[in-house]
Amino acid sequence: MKIKNTFMNLIGNNDPASKFNRKKMLTTLSPVIGLVALFILASSLSNVFLTASNLTNVLRQVSVLGFAALGMTIVIITGNIDLSIIGNVSMSTTLVAVLLQNGWDVVPMILVVLLASSTIGLLNGLIISYFKIESFVITMGMQVVCFGLSLFIAGGRTVIVDNLAPFMLNLASNKLGMIPVMFIILLGFYTVFYIFTKKTKMGRYIYALGGNEEVSYVSGVNVTIVRTTAYILSGLMAGVAGIFTFSRSLCGDPAAGSALGMYVVAAVVIGGTKMSGGRGSVLFTIIGILIIGIINNTLNLVGFEYYAQQIIQGLIIIFAVVISSKKRR
């Protein structure tokens, strides 16, 4: 009975304990409260924060992180982690550059890049499932493999593309009103993923896997397929992030993904998704990336010393993870 309740709870269809619970609500809403507070703080610290051009900048600056963090959210909900994302973003960026440099059209280029990045995810999922190893270790190794592949693809140096297609040239700089098109595409992906996780069977299995792998297994869920799906989606989003990284810098930098670093994980946990899996929402990851983007933007605008910036950024990541694990129960 208890197991059944837990399971029903996790797949989130009906909530027997759906009484008003102030503490739980505060936990869920704390990222939103944090964002609002940060918004007010940033506006009072810098007189240029609340200008249209600066807010446009922030949305542009968080978009690549947003694509990468979306994939990470799915993997973290399954109770795993995907550290290969930043390597995969680098690999995809250099692949975009090399394919374009070799005269490929935009559409086949995008398809090949997404296929390659998803394959990395597929490998992650299969290796972790069949050998039953901590995802942390495997994806860490895969990250190094991907950085190596980036250098191999790029021939050891940054790839500069001549005669760039206008589509790629403007992908990151186009705006609809004041909102970057890149961010609108990002919101589109989040909406699709939100519906996928909440309304489809596979989405519910992804939550269930993170809630309790054994319960999922005895309930007849094919754990390997669910986990591998999560990793493929994560790889796919790394590919999308790579395409946008290229369009933002207009060259294939083999180290491009390293900027994302631990921010990918931080954005997810700041958004309230638990590292232990099973709980959280892709929508809240948007809050996470906005919080990180606003902090980095404000630190620049206020003119903090660069070393103070690094310390603050590091402390925020630690703080976010501590909060995430403290509120597990």
Binding site: D15, L29, T51, S53, A255
Partner: protein
């Protein structure tokens, strides 16, 4: 209940943000209202190398003498996207002029054109820009020439023949590409010079120690070493010293203080002097802000330094 409440709050927040967008379409007033105060943006590619730290010391010293100037220094953290974001933030903050050392020059073309469109002049320091039309001046080191000079120094000392190894900086870095291409442009003219190994040690002394120890195991017959910077060269010098090897010639680039000391001690053969761009770049910026023009657009000289001329360049009080 709680879930739907969460959704409502997110919705409200999104609406609030959109309203903010709509309401703040008016741009901010320029930050410097009094004509005499200047805000100079300095976009550094990263802060982890001694030459950047020396830059900071020299910038601070210069600021003491110029109380009417403020600076906004950003750290690109060895990343193109971070540096683009840094410069975007400088444009929003409406700095009076931007000094930039590109981590990857081609990546900055777009954002620097935005700066130009916003009426903010740009001065390149340390490294050249891919699109020089955005700059009003430059104070840069010619890394290609430095690589070629280092090669000549090594080849001459070896008498035009021998086995050499190369330790490179981070793969893909603009400086690395130039220092390597400049080096190869000279070395390729000497068929008896053989590059037996070519590895990356990321400009870092500690990594160079590990990498070079391994190279030495695999290739006992080495005559010369070329490192893309002094930090790595000093790592190799340490390995050679520990192993008691004295007949391998090491050359590097930068001419930092402890490298010159190693040259004086006879442990290190030679280096190519790189000039720290500060305060020259700041002087140029201030000149432009006050007069609307810059006088010089030159490369800084690359001077080979060996034991014969090291005394002339060594300054015990130098910050780099």
């Amino acid at each position: 209940m709680k879930r739907s409440l969460g959704k409502i709050v997110v919705l409200v927040l999104v609406i609030a943000m959109l309203l903010t967008f709509a309401s703040c379409a008016k741009e901010a007033e320029p930050t410097s209202t009094t004509g005499e105060d200047f805000l100079i943006g300095i976009s550094q590619p990263f802060m982890g190398h001694p030459i950047r730290q020396a830059g900071t010391v020299l910038i601070n010293a210069w600021l003491e003498e110029h109380p009417d100037v403020e600076v906004m220094v950003t750290d690109g953290q060895l990343n193109a996207a971070k540096q683009i974001a840094d410069i975007e933030d400088m444009i929003t903050k409406k700095v009076d002029i931007i000094l930039v050392a590109a981590h990857q020059s081609p990546t900055l073309v777009g954002v620097l054109r935005e700066a130009k469109a916003a009426g903010i002049p740009v001065i390149a320091f340390d490294r050249t820009l891919t699109d020089p039309s955005v700059q009003v001046g430059m104070v840069v080191n010619d890394d290609y020439a430095a690589g070629a000079s280092a090669a000549q120094l090594l080849v001459d000392k070896l008498g035009g023949k021998g086995n050499i190894v190369v330790l490179q900086g981070p793969a893909g870095n603009t400086t690395v590409t130039l220092r390597q291409d400049g080096f190869l442009s000279v070395v390729n003219k000497y068929p008896d010079i053989k590059i037996v190994d070519d590895q990356v040690a990321n400009f870092q002394r500690v990594q160079a120690v590990d990498v070079f120890e391994n190279i030495l195991q695999a290739n006992p017959d080495i005559d010369g070493i070329y490192c893309h910077n002094d930090e790595m060269a000093l790592g190799c010098v340490k390995v050679l010293k520990d192993a008691g090897i004295t007949d391998i010639i090491t050359v590097g680039i930068d001419g930092q203080k402890d490298a010159l000391e190693a040259i004086m001690a006879g442990d290190y053969y030679g280096t190519i002097r790189k000039v720290v761009e500060f305060p020259a770049a700041l002087d140029m910026a201030l000149e432009y802000l006050k007069t609307g023009k810059t006088t010089s657009m030159n490369y800084l000289d690359s001077i080979p330094i060996t034991k014969e001329n090291v005394e002339q360049y060594y300054d015990p009080d130098a910050v780099f």
